[in-house]
Amino acid sequence: MAASAKGTRQSVGHNEVRLAWTLISPTALIVFSLVVFPAIFSIWVSFHDVGLHNLNDVFHAPFVGFENYKQVLNDYAFKFQNLKSIGAALTSVVYAFSATTLAIVTGTVASLLLNQPFKGRGLARSIFLFPYVAPIVSVAFVWRWILDPRTSGVANDLLMKLNLIDTPKAFLATRGLSLLIVILLDAWRYFPFAMLMILARLQAIDKTLYEAAKVDGANDIQQFFSITLPELRYVIGSTFLLRLMWTFNKFDDIFLYTGGGFGTKTLPVLTYEFSFRLYDFGRGAAAAMILLLILAIFMAIYITVVMRKVED
């Protein structure tokens, strides 16, 4: 009896394994051929001289050791030169950290606003999500048109009418200012993501905590710092890390806003330029590897801090 039950279970288990592999094989095949293999292959490319000339015979490309890496690390665009041109590596880090911080802070404020009861809250929430949902290409070109360097640009017109500036500014074509504007635009576009995550957590906070605090005579500000913020700590931390990694990887936004010029060249843009402007795929892959190395540090923090916490 026991043996036969065990036998049936085994055969069910065996069937399940077969079914599992049947179900997963198309996806696994595509993920491995389109993602896992290319990812490993790009390590290989980064150690070889691959260009347009030998793209058709890429597996026989000459091995060049660390030459590509040397070229990237010595490149003017990569290295820190002076405070005016800090190089792609540092630009990436500065951009990712400040844009993420700003998006999280703005998202927190927005989520606190939407957590208040008021008429039209549902509509307000939909509108707050607009920047995140709209296609990046449309968003980028509207902002470029708003920030047009001529007097016909609406930002220049408004700022001049308010007497905040005397002459029109080239917002996206001035060293220093451009990076700041790109960071602000990034926060504008990505705060809704943080907002949604934080809002979901806010609505899950036990209401009796606030009632107890009120009984104890705590005011709104005290309640915020002693109840709300501690409750949000974890979601803010994990959202920060997730957004940090995605921002660090971002290509579209900066490329569309400035083309990577005027001190806004990040590692993804540099990778693109090496590969598809200079058609030096080896050097591009090496730049991507350096990008990945920095990303791996963020990932390690994410996995050890966030994923472990989830398991708890």
Partner: protein, 299 residues
């Protein structure tokens, strides 16, 4: 005693007003900074050449001028852009991408969420890590790899919408798989167990119980992946050279970089590209925000 009471009430009233004041100021700040760019996009698309090229910006177009839209769609316009072809190309890539992604992802994620098999953790972890990978990293090896395969099998890698769709799946499949796996884990196992005990086979359970329950999730994942493909810029830019095959984002970029700037045309094309996405989003917001908070769209 009484005066003390009144002053407390007075303070309370002032406090509420102060709080409301900050709330209103912040709300107005958020709403204007969010809505103004969208207003500017739509209104600019209706401006005439004179209104767009003046010394000062025109805040409200004098009339609904269709010049920009004529340039996009009217074959008789001197600089006709043939934008209809670009819309068609985008749909040709985005629709199959999302349909195929959903089909593959639903099968795979069910297996990951429900069935026990060796190598599951490895598979799931590698997909999760891929989810955090930069797109620029993958495009170099993909380009080299596909060029090689294309050479061997005699097809063009560039200017091939089928190949482009294939590369989009590298971006959409991990997202879809991740979202749907999370979703299947929220469906109580007991429902399926009950059906299994009633004598249904696994495949029957999937078809009759799990899939009908998962339809809202399938729709939201389908829309997500559709949006990713609809908006995609980098891969399309690298893989497409022929302007008759351009998807909308690449075409808009090309119009923007034209030597004679025509912001009204760029804005008209952007409006056309944005409106369907916003309508889809508003219609299905409930499903989509649930997907977002469960780690949905990467962006």
């Amino acid at each position: 005693m009484k005066t003390e009471n009144i002053s407390i009430i007075g303070q309370l009233a002032a406090w509420i007003n102060w709080k409301r004041f900050i709330f209103s100021v912040l709300m107005i700040f958020f709403l204007t900074s969010i809505l103004f760019p969208f207003y500017w996009m739509v209104s600019s698309s209706f401006k005439s050449k004179a209104e767009i090229g003046g010394r000062e910006p025109v805040y409200v177009p004098s009339e609904l001028n269709l010049e920009a839209f004529k340039e996009l769609f009217d074959p008789n316009h001197p600089s006709f852009q043939n934008f209809g072809v670009n819309i068609r190309n985008t749909l040709t890539v985005a629709l199959p991408t999302s349909i195929i992604t959903v089909i593959f992802a639903v099968l795979g994620s069910y297996a990951i969420a429900r069935l026990r098999f060796k190598g599951k953790d490895f598979l799931l972890n590698s997909i999760l890590i891929v989810y955090l990978f930069p797109g620029v990293l993958l495009i170099i090896p993909l380009f080299a790899m596909l060029a090689q395969i294309g050479d061997a099998l005699n097809f063009n890698v560039q200017d091939n919408l089928g190949v482009l769709m294939f590369t989009y799946m590298a971006q959409t499949l991990p997202v879809a798989l991740y979202m749907l796996t999370n979703y299947f884990r929220t469906i109580p196992d007991e429902i399926e167990q009950a059906a299994l005990i009633d004598g249904c086979s696994r495949v029957q359970v999937i078809r009759r119980v799990t899939l009908p329950l998962a339809i809202p999730a399938l729709i939201s994942v389908g829309i997500y992946t559709f949006m990713i493909a609809w908006n995609e810029f980098l891969y399309a830019m690298v893989f497409l050279n022929d302007r008759f095959l351009f998807t909308m984002p690449i075409k808009i970029n090309t119009i923007y970089n034209d030597p004679s700037p025509r912001p009204n045309v760029v804005m008209a094309a952007s409006t056309i590209m944005t409106i369907p996405i916003m309508l889809l989003f508003l219609a299905l917001e409930k499903y989509l925000t649930e997907g977002l908070t469960s780690g949905g769209v990467k962006g």
